[in-house]
């Protein structure tokens, strides 16, 4: 076995491991929580923890998909690479969170089961992340709102009694810091740019701001778990307001988007944008049940 290149050494005749592990980038993805202690801490309800991990995991999965849609469409190659990087981080977080969900409720559902085999009404992401991409200003506006809120949330979750969730959050804090900085730099550049970029950046903020509130509106599961997101509202709005002002833009005064009979994304009530997106995300897995590639 040579040390020159791992992939070459793995494909050498007779090299272990046999079978699919030779093609690790393409098939047989291992459990992203392989061998991690999955015992539930005392006092944490498995069903609630699973539901919560699905909420956070679905946010990350759906936004990752929206970011990947920018590939071949971004204004510059560097931005395309950046958006793909951000999407990859979020996809990784989603894999961990969805795997933890299937463990915590005892269902044994895998990340693939949860990502590919649920209908749109079973997804628990906030509606902000599923909205169609819009222009680049909307892309960075959504990133700024989401990354600022998720960064603040992960900082708190890093102390969660469930050590798996805590570890996912602790890792994510540092990744989200880069995401937020990326979004912030573009909001500043576009807001404090030309009259045209200023107007389009303001339009993007105006369009997305009403969806922000859903991230701070607690679901009953969050209240039972003691992770009420409403405590994030004030600090996150203050942080966002500072960026918006620095970018010479105006903090929108829009009313939060209405719920449907008190229900929204966290309850599985979504916009029309989610279904087509999931159809694309899931089509191969559904066409070839159980296939690995």
């Amino acid at each position: 076995m040579t040390d020159d290149h791992v992939y070459l050494s793995l494909s050498e005749a007779g090299a272990e491991p046999e079978g699919e592990a030779r093609w690790a980038y393409g098939t047989g993805f291992t459990d992203p929580l392989l061998g991690v202690d999955t015992a539930l801490p005392a006092g944490v309800d498995g069903e609630d923890l699973a539901a919560y991990c699905r909420m956070l995991g679905d946010d990350a999965l759906v936004l990752a998909q929206r970011l990947i849609e920018w590939v071949t469409r971004a204004p510059e190659l560097e931005e395309e690479v950046a958006l793909a990087n951000l999407g990859l981080d979020l996809l990784g977080q989603a894999r961990h969170l969805l795997t933890r969900s299937g463990q915590a409720d005892g269902s044994g559902r895998t990340e693939d089961d949860l990502a590919y085999l649920r209908e749109d009404h079973e997804f628990r992401n906030v509606r902000l992340v599923e909205l169609e991409n819009g222009d680049f200003a909307e892309c960075v506006a959504r990133l700024l709102l989401f990354a600022t809120a998720r960064h603040a949330l992960y900082l708190r979750l890093a102390d969660h009694p469930d050590r798996v969730l805590a570890a996912i959050a602790a890792r994510g804090v540092k990744e989200l810091a880069y995401h937020r900085e990326y979004a912030e730099s573009w909001v500043l550049r576009l807001g404090d740019g030309t009259a045209h970029s200023h107007r389009r950046m303001q339009d993007a903020l105006d369009a997305l701001w009403p969806w922000l509130d859903e991230l701070f509106t607690p679901h009953e599961v969050e209240l039972r778990l003691g992770v009420d997101p409403s405590v994030l509202r004030e600090p996150v709005l203050a942080a966002l307001g500072a960026v918006v002002t620095e970018a010479t833009l105006t903090v929108p005064e829009a009313q939060p988007r209405a719920y449907v009979n008190g229900r929204a994304g966290r309850h599985g009530v979504h916009t029309e944008a989610l279904g087509p997106m999931l159809a694309e995300l899931q089509v191969v897995a559904r066409a070839h049940p159980g296939a690995t590639w």
Partner: protein, 169 residues
């Protein structure tokens, strides 16, 4: 029973596995290999993923498994350890030297990701990064996001060469 001698050998086998994306570095140089234990010939190796979405983690696990089996261990388990999270501070001095030698600027020791809550100001990059090709400090960041999640893309204004830099996490 655990024997120090054989545990050291299993560690050395696992520690010598090259990183899939940065093959000039071993998993030990990178600080990804957290622990290796051996009991009655059964070996368990723990590795800590770098970024959440790093696709090389499955490859690392498969390769550690393969190397340990090739070294004669028949009962091998590779497990992930998420806590504490991996940090670029775990890259060894040797690892930093090998990165620079390969033309990749190593991360600053003790360097931190973007500050929480600090207001960003646009302007020239303040961080001084030496060009790994010519050593000049007249370099600029082209993009915070590079060819992989762990790297940013830089350019040297002296020798004109672009280069990757491992970003702090």
């Amino acid at each position: 029973m655990v024997t120090v001698l054989s545990r050291n050998r299993a560690w050395e086998v696992a520690a010598a596995v090259p990183d899939p994306e940065l093959p000039m570095l071993t998993l030990a140089d990178l600080g990804v290999l957290a622990e290796v234990s051996e009991q009655d010939g059964a070996v368990t190796a723990w590795i800590t993923p770098t970024y959440s979405g790093c696709p090389a983690v499955a490859e690392m696990a498969a390769d550690v498994d393969a190397r340990l089996r090739a070294a004669g261990y028949h009962e091998v388990a590779v497990r992930l350890r998420l806590d504490p999270p991996w940090s670029t501070d775990l890259i060894s001095a040797e690892g930093r030297r090998k990165l620079a030698e390969a033309g990749i600027a190593p991360p600053t020791a003790g360097g931190a990701p973007p500050a929480a809550g600090g207001l960003l100001r646009l302007g020239p990059t303040r961080r001084v990064v030496a060009c790994p090709q010519c050593g000049s400090q007249d370099t600029e960041e082209l993009s915070r996001f590079g060819s992989t999640a762990c790297k940013s893309l830089w350019r040297c204004r002296s020798c004109r060469e672009p280069f990757d830099r491992i970003k702090e996490i």
